[in-house]
Subunit: 344 residues, 2 copies
DNA sequence: TCGATTTACTAAAACGATTTACTACGCTAT
DNA sequence: ATAGCGTAGTAAATCGTTTTAGTAAATCGA
């Protein structure tokens, strides 16, 4: 009963159960096939009495398994990522894994630094959403080389390189195709688009979907109706301002956050939503249903994606073999920000 | 050049530099006071050539230092926590620490499980926001006992037990005092409050602040004007509905999310903000400035708080001595959701 | 010149597990 | 009688560091 009592080690348990550490280890790790139940019982009792649990560091040192996966996202305070990370953490905890979380703040240099750092921590796997910067040809090459040299299973989440690597993302092309169809069905022909960085596959594929839907109706999207920026509020404001001047009847923003910016720009321009201009978003943040004019948007199945991320990375950790890319479909959420002008 | 080359160990470096592992360790850890520069140079060169970096697991095993801090929050997808965690991660990384993130999903059982788990991972420190459940007398006792037995430095962030433990939080009492004063200055006397769980010090102290401001003007807040719930949207809707029936002129919601709910309830009741009822929030989420009627609110200085959290936990890790509680002041953000009715 | 000190370095013990390769014993079958 | 085998374990190596307690040689002071 004196002061700080140290954690019991496997030796303490061995001593108390009057067996060797080897035996303790085997019993506690379920490798006791060859041992009589009486011994196992003694060991388990001793372990319980001493409140023993194996030191994870010592164990990891010999087994080369930490049960940690590293997660690198551009910005956890972005609603999409925070929700995804929450689901990932909760889900992967069920398999006995913890996550070390890193924010790259959209900087390629941080991606590199964190990836190396996590590998140095002997994580069992890596879940990556590279920063926008990491999609320039040069940076992409660096990241890919870095990962190849690491021998740590990794997977791309939401953003990915097209030439290899396991990935889990929403089906961007199909989703924005659906969104555009919805706009078309409501009579919109003059559509403006606010995209995220076109270096990202997410934005490029969403744009592709828009173009496909349009061309199927014999329409096309000229470049001057596409405003490229980031996925943030300010981009929405600027893009909205620019597109409103061109008298579009609908604006499709590639993120809800951008859509909020469009609302702001409409307010400034004295235009009402959806009477003067329709707005369509992408993500379905919790806030989108709360707006004065609830936003029509494509809902990302964040929980499904998160679970798929976990399933894939665990598979990679176990098999060390490439997984097929997983594409999850987004769902159209019709609210009030899109007006039907087909009868006009 | 054959296949997978293994990571270089300290022995490899020692061999190449023609010294002992001891020497390598000392040089690379800056304990080379007694060694001639020539040797140091040789060791450093060898290390560089082999691309050597010490295995953190092996090191942690002997030094008892992991450079990891555990973070347990109720819900990372809550904007306040996600922003806080982002700043915490970025800041603490500057000191060479990583964070393992856990979501308790507001469940006491998860708090216990994660705290034990993180301690078992030999984290150097713990940053905790206990779930609402963990504030019942019984659960609180359990958590406190658990922490006391762990010998891991820990700190409470945002929510805390009043009887001990280092803590970092916004000055809730002063903040809501200021908010209430603002309401009073604008002529509001019949004020309704939507609180979070009153088991949480944050809610209790905010309520205290309201009462103090009111009583200084000879007013008081009767219980029927206080709606207790959670910090979420649904609580705002329900509380708003209830309070609007009592013809309050202003509603002070203890979170922005609740305030959004109040907006919704006002819309349903056909009341305009701020013409028919004023609304005040708390947090200043990024969305609050985006609303059709931008929300007046108390802005939590999240980055400041996060930095203070890092400073404190690092101090605790180094000194192992209690830190003074840190209280950060919130700032009043005046927007359009509060009307001046003092001239009526 | 000799003992004491300084310089430059190292052997070996930890840290706390897992894992491989044994051993000692009793029993059976030939 | 003994080879062979199953049972019930264990000793010792290993993982890759840090750290303690030295030592051997060179230098210094008197």
């Amino acid at each position: 009963m004196n002061g700080v009592k140290k954690k019991a080690t496997i030796k303490d348990v061995a001593l108390r159960a009057e067996v060797s550490p080897t035996t303790v280890s085997m019993v506690l790790n379920g490798k006791s096939a060859a041992l009589p139940e009486s011994t196992c019982e003694r060991v388990r009792a001793a372990a319980a009495e001493l409140n023993y649990s194996a030191d994870v560091l010592a164990r990891a040192l010999v087994t080369k398994k930490t049960n940690i996966v590293g997660v690198v996202v551009p910005d956890i305070s972005n609603a999409f990522f925070s929700e995804a990370v929450r689901h990932i953490q909760v889900e992967i905890a069920r398999y006995g894994y913890d996550i070390i979380l890193c924010n790259s703040e959209e900087r390629a240099e941080s991606d590199e630094r964190y990836i190396s750092l996590l590998a140095g921590r002997n994580v069992d796997g890596l879940i990556l959403t590279p920063s926008a910067e990491s999609f320039t040809a040069e940076n992409a090459e660096k990241i890919k080389r870095l990962l190849a040299g690491l021998h740590v299973p990794y997977l791309f989440f939401d953003r990915y390189y097209t030439d290899g690597g396991t990935r889990v993302a929403v089906d961007n092309e199909a989703s924005s195709y659906a969104a555009t169809q919805y706009l078309l069905e409501n009579g919109h022909k003059k559509i403006g688009v606010i995209a995220g960085p076109l270096t990202l596959n997410s934005s490029r594929n969403r744009l592709k979907g828009v173009r496909r839907a349009l061309s199927e109706r014999g329409l096309s999207l000229s470049d001057e109706f596409v405003y490229e920026g980031r996925y943030d509020f300010a981009t929405g404001v600027n893009g909205g301002e620019m597109l409103l001047k061109k008298d579009v009847t609908a604006i499709f923003a590639f993120s809800d956050m951008q859509a909020y910016g469009v609302y702001e720009s409409a307010k400034r321009a004295g235009k009402r939503i959806p009477d003067d201009v329709s707005v369509m978003g992408f993500d379905d943040n919790i806030y989108s249903s709360v707006l004065e004019v609830p936003l029509s948007t494509m809902r990302q199945p964040v929980e499904t994606i998160a679970k798929e991320v976990c399933r894939s990375i665990l598979a990679l950790i176990e098999n060390k073999e490439a997984e097929a890319p997983a594409c999850c479909p987004a769902r159209l959420v019709r609210r009030s920000s899109v007006a039907d002008i087909s009868k006009n």
